[in-house]
Symmetry: C3
Subunit: 432 residues, 3 copies
C-alpha cells in the first residue's frame, strides 16, 4: 500500500471518528436543553432533539447534500435525490480478488477520501444547526411545526448557505470568505433561524413582566446541563479538528493538532471570562452564563482555529464569551426569550468569530462582513417567512393552557420524572 492510499484511509477514518463525536454533540444539546427547561417540558425537548437528528440524517441524504455540494453554480447546487458511493467505489467494493482491488483502487484513492465518510462528516454538522433552534424555542413551540421547520432547515436553508460558502463554485467561496469549521455557516445559521423563530413564536407567558422585570425559570436538572456542555466541548474537537485533515499527511496532522489545542484554549478562556463578567453584567455569578461562555468560546474559534500562536485563541474565545454574556442581557432588554441562551452563544459568538478569523487567519475583514451579513439576511428572512407561514397554517405555539400544564403532559402524555413530587407552581404567569 502506497502513501496516497494510506492518506486516503487516514482521512476517511478521521472523518468517521471525528464525525461520530460531532454526532454526539446532539446528545449534548439534548442534555443541555432538557436540563435547562422546567420539569414539565423536559420530555418533549428530548423528543425534539432526538427527532431532529433523524430528520437531519434523512433530509440531508435525500436532497440537502446535493444542493450544497454537487455542481454549485454560485447560489445553489443540484436538485437531485440521494447520495451514495462513487462509481469507482462501488466497483472497488464489488471486488472479490486482489487483482480487481489493485485495478480499482487508484481511481478511488484519487478522490482523497471516501465519498460516504465525507457525507457523514457534513451531515452531523447540519444536525448541530438544527439543535441550536430547539434550545432557543423550548417550552412553547409545538412539536409538529418544529419538525417541519427542521426539515426545511436541513434540506434547504442550511444547504444553500453551505453552497455559497463551502461548495466549489459558491459565490462567497469565490470571494475568499473564510469560515473553516462554520462559525457563520453552522452556528450563526442556527442562531438566525432561532432568532426568527423566537420573534414569531414570542416569549413564554410571563417571562417579561409588564413592569419590565425579567423572570428566570427554574431549570429542571443542573447536572445534565453540565454534562451536555461537556459533551459539546468533547464533540467540538471533532467539529474543528476533523475539518482540517486536508491531505492525511504530516502537515495536516500538525494543523489538526494546533486546531484542537486552539479549540480547547478558546473554550477554557470563555469559561473563565464569563465566570468573571457574569456578576457585573448579569448581577449574579451565574452557572449558566459560565457554561454558555465555554460554548461561546468554542463558537468563536470555529471560523479560524488554525493560528500558530495559540495565545490568540485565548483572546478570541475570551472575547466571544464576553460578547455572549452581554448578548444574554441584550436579549432580555429586547424582550426576546431564548431559553438556553442559544442566540447569544451561537449567533453573536459566531459573528464575532467570523470577524476575528480575519485577524487570526488573514482573511479579508470586508469579505467576512459580507458573508456574515448576507448569510444572516438570507437565513433570517427565509426562516421568518417559514415560521410565519407555519403559524398561519397550523399555529406554531402551544396554547396558554398547555404552557401552564406543560408540553410533556399535553403533547406527549409522559412526564420526564413522573414519580417525583414537584413544587406546586413554577409557572411564569404573573401572580396578579
Amino acid at each position: 500500500m502506497g502513501g496516497a492510499e494510506m492518506s486516503f484511509v487516514l482521512k476517511s477514518f478521521s472523518y468517521l471518528i471525528w464525525g461520530a463525536l460531532v454526532m454526539w454533540m446532539c446528545a449534548g444539546f439534548c442534555m443541555l436543553e432538557s436540563g435547562s427547561v422546567r420539569t414539565k417540558n423536559a420530555s418533549v425537548i428530548c423528543l425534539k432533539n432526538f427527532g431532529l437528528y433523524a430528520i437531519a440524517g434523512i433530509g440531508y441524504f435525500t436532497l440537502g447534500y446535493n444542493l450544497m455540494y454537487v455542481d454549485v453554480s454560485g447560489l445553489i447546487g443540484s436538485f437531485q435525490f440521494f447520495v451514495g458511493p462513487s462509481e469507482a467505489e462501488v466497483a472497488l467494493m464489488g471486488c472479490v480478488d486482489a487483482a480487481c482491488v489493485e485495478a480499482a483502487a487508484p481511481a478511488v484513492v484519487e478522490s482523497g477520501q471516501s465519498e460516504m465518510s465525507n457525507w457523514f462528516f457534513q451531515m452531523v454538522f447540519v444536525a448541530t444547526t438544527a439543535s441550536i433552534v430547539s434550545g432557543a424555542l423550548a417550552e412553547r413551540v409545538r412539536l409538529w411545526p418544529f419538525f417541519i421547520f427542521t426539515a426545511l432547515l436541513v434540506t434547504l436553508i442550511y444547504p444553500i448557505v453551505g453552497a455559497w460558502t463551502w461548495g466549489e463554485g459558491g459565490w462567497l467561496m469565490k470571494r475568499g470568505f473564510s469560515d473553516i469549521a462554520g462559525s457563520t455557516i453552522v452556528h450563526s445559521t442556527g442562531g438566525w433561524a432561532a432568532l426568527a423563530g423566537a420573534l414569531v413564536v414570542g416569549a413564554r407567558t410571563g417571562k417579561f413582566g409588564k413592569d419590565g422585570t425579567v423572570r428566570a425559570t427554574p431549570p429542571s436538572n443542573i447536572p445534565i446541563v453540565t454534562l451536555g456542555v461537556f459533551i459539546l466541548w468533547l464533540g467540538w474537537f471533532g467539529f474543528n479538528g476533523g475539518s482540517v485533515l486536508a491531505r492525511g499527511d504530516a502537515a495536516s496532522a500538525v494543523t489538526m493538532s494546533t486546531v484542537i489545542v486552539n479549540t480547547n484554549l478558546a473554550a477554557a478562556a470563555g469559561v473563565i471570562a464569563s465566570f468573571f463578567v457574569s456578576k457585573p453584567v448579569l448581577g449574579r455569578r451565574d452557572l449558566f452564563a459560565t457554561l454558555n461562555g465555554g460554548i461561546a468560546g468554542l463558537v468563536a474559534i470555529t471560523a479560524g482555529p488554525t493560528m500558530t500562536e495559540p495565545v490568540w485563541a485565548i483572546v478570541i474565545g475570551g472575547i466571544g464569551s464576553v460578547v455572549c454574556t452581554l448578548g444574554i442581557r441584550l436579549l432580555d432588554e429586547l424582550k426576546i426569550d431564548d431559553v438556553v441562551g442559544a442566540i447569544p452563544a451561537h449567533l453573536f459568538g459566531g459573528i464575532w468569530g467570523t470577524l476575528a478569523a480575519a485577524i487570526a487567519t488573514g482573511a479579508n475583514l470586508m469579505v467576512q462582513l459580507i458573508g456574515v451579513v448576507s448569510v444572516g439576511a438570507f437565513v433570517f428572512i427565509v426562516s421568518w417567512v417559514i415560521w410565519a407561514v407555519l403559524d398561519k397554517m397550523i399555529g406554531v405555539r402551544i396554547s396558554m393552557q398547555a404552557e401552564d400544564i406543560g408540553q410533556d403532559a399535553v403533547e406527549l402524555g409522559i412526564d420526564a420524572y413522573p414519580e417525583f413530587v414537584l413544587m406546586a407552581d413554577s409557572n411564569l404567569t404573573e401572580d396578579d
Copy 2:
C-alpha cells in the same frame, strides 16, 4: 514502515477505538434501563449493568473467546483458559533495539491485526448481548441469578453461537450464513435469552390485569433514557463500522464509510417510522416507541450494512422499526412483560435484519432462515433450562414484598434518588 505494517497498525487502532465506543454502549443500556424502570428499582439496574460488563470481560477472557474462535470444529471451539498476545507479538514487545524489531515485526504483521485488539473488539460485543437481558427482566429478577446467568451467557451460550457463525470452521459459516455485525449473533441471542428469562421469571405483579388491561409503569427519568439511546446510536458506529475494516486499505475504508452511513440512515428511518406508527399501533404517540424504533432500525441494519445504495438502509431500518412497534403490542397481548421493549427491538428487529440481509448483501435467504431458527432454538432452550434450574435452586424472582418496596431498598439498601420525595404509590398491584 511498509504498507502491510501500516495496515496492521490501522486495523488494530480501528478495533481499539471503535471497540471503545462499543464498550460505551454498556453505559447506554444502563442509562436507558435505569431511566425506564420505576425509581425504586433504578439503583439495582445500575449495579446489574455495571456488573455485567465486568463479568463479560472476565468470562470472555477466561473461556468464552477460546470456545468461540480457537480450533472450531463445526459446533464449538477449544476448552482452554485465558488469552494473550501471540508468541510473535510477545517477542516483538520484548525487543529493546531496532534490529530486533525489524526481525520480529514481519511475523506479527502477517496476522493482520494485533491479537488483543481483536479480542477487545469481540469482548465488547459479548457485553452488548448481556445488556439486552438486563433490560427485559428489570424490576423483578434477583441480582444473584442475573449475574450467574450472565456468566453462563458470556462464557458458554454466546461463544457457542459465535463458533457456529463467526468461527473459522463453524457449521453455519460453512453454509454461508451472513450476519456481518451480529443482528442474530449478538442481538437476537440477547433477545432469546431475555425471552426465556421473561417466561420463567414471569411478569411484574399487576402488569397484566385480570380484565385483560395492560398497565404501563412510570419511568423514573426520561432524559437519561434519551441519553442512553443517543449513546447506543453513537456506539453503533463502532459496532457496525468496526466490523468491516478487513484489510486496512482503501477498499476497507470505503466499506467502513458506507456501513456507517447506512447504519445512521437505518436508525433515522426507524425513528421516523415509529413516530408515525406508534399512534395507530399503540394508541398513543409514544416517546419510548420512538426511541425503541431507532434502536430497532440499528439492530435491523446490523446483519447487512454494506449495500452500496443507501436508500435500502432506510427501507430496512424503517421496516425494522415497524416490526418492533408491532412486537411491543404482541408481547402485551401474549402477556409477556419486557420492561424496556428489548425483545421487540433486539429479537424481532434482529430476525428481520438477518432475513433482510439476504436482499441487501445477496446472502441465501434459506441459509439465513436456518441460522435464525437454529440460533433461536439453541439459545432459547438452553437459556430456559438455565433460568428454570436457577429458579429451582435459588429462586430467580424477588418476593412480592420486595417488588412492592423496591429492589433498591431490599437488595441493595440504597435508593437511586434518596432525597427526592416520591409519589405515594407507583405500584402495579391491583387496587382491589
Copy 3:
C-alpha cells in the same frame, strides 16, 4: 508519503483521539461527584469540575508544560510562558505549494509527533489530577480557594512531579522510576493533594459523631454516579492506551492493544473483588464500593499495564480494589472525610499500582518505593502549606450555616433540581 511520515500522522492522531477521551473523564468525575453529594451541593460541584478543566487548560498552557518538559535539570524545567507548534511546524503550516511541503516536512516528521498533539495529551492528564481533589473535598470547601488551589496544582505541583518522573533529565526518571501512565504521577498526586486538603478543611459537620459513629450521607443521584464511572472506564482506554504509541508502528500497536485489554481486565477484576469484599469489610453490599473498586482497579494497572500475560492485570486490579475498600474503612477510622472515596481509590490504589509495576514490568521495587515516597512527601507537604495559607488568608471552608443550607443556595444561588421537593432534612448535624 513514506513510513516515517505515516507514523508521525498516526501518532499525532492517536494522541488527539485518545486525549479527547481523557478529557471526557472530566465529565465522568463531574457526574460521579455531582451524583454522590447531597442534592443541596450538586450544582457547585458541577461548577468546580467544569471550572477546573478550564483552569487546567490555561494554567498548563501558560506555565505548567514548560516547567514539566522543557530543559529539565533534575528537579524542574523551564520558567517560560506559553507553548506552540515548533518552528519547523510553523514553517510547514505556512506552505502553500507542494514543493514547500516536501522541503519542510522532514524536519517536522523527525520529532515523532506533532508538538501540539503531545501537549494536548499531557494537558488532559493534569485535569484528571485536579478532578480527584474536588471529589474528596466536596460539600465543604469554598469555591474560590478550590479554584486557587487548582491553579497552583496544575501550574506548579503537578508539573514539578512530572519533571522528576517524565521529563528528560528528571532525577527519578534517571534512576529508572517507572510509571507508564501515572498511577503515582497523576493519581497519587491528586490523592495526596486531596488528603492534605481534607486535613486542613476538616470533615463535614456531623460526619463523625462524638460516639464514634460514622454517618453516611444520601447521594443525590445514583444513575449519574454510575454514568460517571462508565465514562471514567471509557476514558481510561485513552489514558493508558494513548500513553504507549511509542513509534506508530506494529510494535506500538501490539503494545497499545495489550495495554487496553489489561486496563479493562484490571477494572473488571476490581469490580468483582469489591463486590465480594464490601460486605465483610464495610458491613454492607455497597454500590459505591463496587463502583470505586472498578476505579481502583484502573488506577492500579496504570503504572504498568504492559504485561504480556493479562492474567496479572486481573491480580493487580483485584488487589487494588481490595486495598481501596480497606482504605474506605481506614479513612472512616481516622475520621478523615472523603465524600467520594477519592483518596482510597486514587492514592492507595496508586501506591499499590506503582509497587505492583515492579512485578509486572520489571521495574526496581526500591526505586518505585523512593518515587512513591518522595512524590508523596513533596505533594502532601506543599499542598498542606497551600491549603493552610489559603485558610489563614481567605478561609477555605464554608460556614456552618452554609453547610446547613447547602453550597448551591449560598455560593451560587441555583439549586441543582430546584423544582423537586426534597426530604425535610438530610443534614449530618447531630440531632441532639
